[in-house]
Symmetry: C2
Subunit: 300 residues, 2 copies
Amino acid sequence: MSAAGTWQAFVTAARAAIERELDRRLPPESERPGRLHAAMRYSVFAGGKRLRPALVLAAGEAFGAGRERLLAPAAAVELIHTYSLVHDDLPALDDDDLRRGRPTLHRRFDEATAILAGDALLTLGLTLLALEPAEAEAGRRARAVALVGEAAGTGGMIGGQEEDLEAERAWPADAARALERIHRGKTGALLVASLRLGAIHAGASVAEETLLTRFGERVGLMFQVADDILDVEGSAGELGKTPGKDAEARKLTWPGLHGLAASHAKLAELAAEARSFAASLPEAGGLFRSLIDFLSSRDH
Amino acid sequence: MSAAGTWQAFVTAARAAIERELDRRLPPESERPGRLHAAMRYSVFAGGKRLRPALVLAAGEAFGAGRERLLAPAAAVELIHTYSLVHDDLPALDDDDLRRGRPTLHRRFDEATAILAGDALLTLGLTLLALEPAEAEAGRRARAVALVGEAAGTGGMIGGQEEDLEAERAWPADAARALERIHRGKTGALLVASLRLGAIHAGASVAEETLLTRFGERVGLMFQVADDILDVEGSAGELGKTPGKDAEARKLTWPGLHGLAASHAKLAELAAEARSFAASLPEAGGLFRSLIDFLSSRDH
């Protein structure tokens, strides 16, 4: 198996359990208000990569937690990730018609439903973290909500999205630093929180959580730099969305600001840093190293 | 002091502490992203009645909790209430230009900022419930998140809003029952949760919480029926918003469905029921009975 293959095999094997858990936690379409529930499900079951829930499982299992304790928190972060995509796609924000090759939620349903479905996914995600796993110490569940809530808030995901929108209107004077903050907020924060969430429910130590945070910060930045590169180099078929959209929208991106060569070099530098942190993490069948290789070579 | 005056005096006296707590918990405008923080503050400090935080304090103190333990949870429900107003006012939903006599957030700032600020208020509210009061048992904080999250979700506030929108397109066959569900969801759920939240942090018993729930359900319905009546009978000056808007939007309302006389009769019936439950609640200086009188006679 290739170096990146270990990670892909892990995600493939975990995928069915993650999908089942999401199905179990989302309200059924047969229940009122059915249209809203249908909208939530449309977005959640749109063929996402399930990277965040896989990170919860990987980190939790590496530190010794059983999968049954990790599935609900894993589903919760995917619900929150999905909400962020639904709202980011709205006409007033990125105004996207396609997401993973299908019409975005507000195109398939309508704008009001997309706003409410996004609100509902965020609410359900944080609520689920407070409730599950029911057998965990309440302190871990409360910490889980705080961890993910802070990662999703103005100091993380929403803050990054706001700065991204502001940069689209006019590139800030400190563009390189703004780009770093945007990446860290928009994608990095929830990826790091996913790893730490697994560690919390595994009862990992503070030192272990810190190590995982350092590792996750590099991995999160790798993910976003790779994403920016793909928007330049990828095709619509590979991406499931319109390529070149970033440049068209004058988005602040790594290739746009530093060029493609520097972006590839940055990716390699981040991979080296992530590897040095991974060396101190549990071996876990080479899973963390494999994740780095996967992100170094991703093409969609 | 009039019967309703006791409640009004309680809210007036509590107001400064609630506003201080909100100010303390909201990120400052001087911090990045400042525009988003300014937007959150614009909506939170728009002169709201602070009914929900007052209910948290009233219930918590009635069951013996000190105010310092209740202020952060009280602020949290107000943040969540404010998010719901910001999103409901959006062009794709109620499309309101005025809220409490001032431009709505998307009119004052822009639509993207209003969507993100709403998301941020919801996220901050639930996160705050998980974190504070820090000295409380973690189990109470986790329960607080679950309680408020469920009240705000598809089975509560968001579900009510969705059914309200659907009813605007076409009144459902079971209009009377749909109206009951909409009121219960849109307003009732978070009002009941506010009372129970106070009880949780006061360590009230399950029986006490159940009693408070029954009381809160009547109070919540009273609040909404009174609101519907005001939209017909009130003036713009009293309301701080455009009256007659419900009828114009063909909204499902109590007066619209049952007439004004039946609406006033319903209000009186709910008040009698609420009084019978209040009789078993702690006396608390007549605060709960006074709240009923206040809701029976509210004119804004």
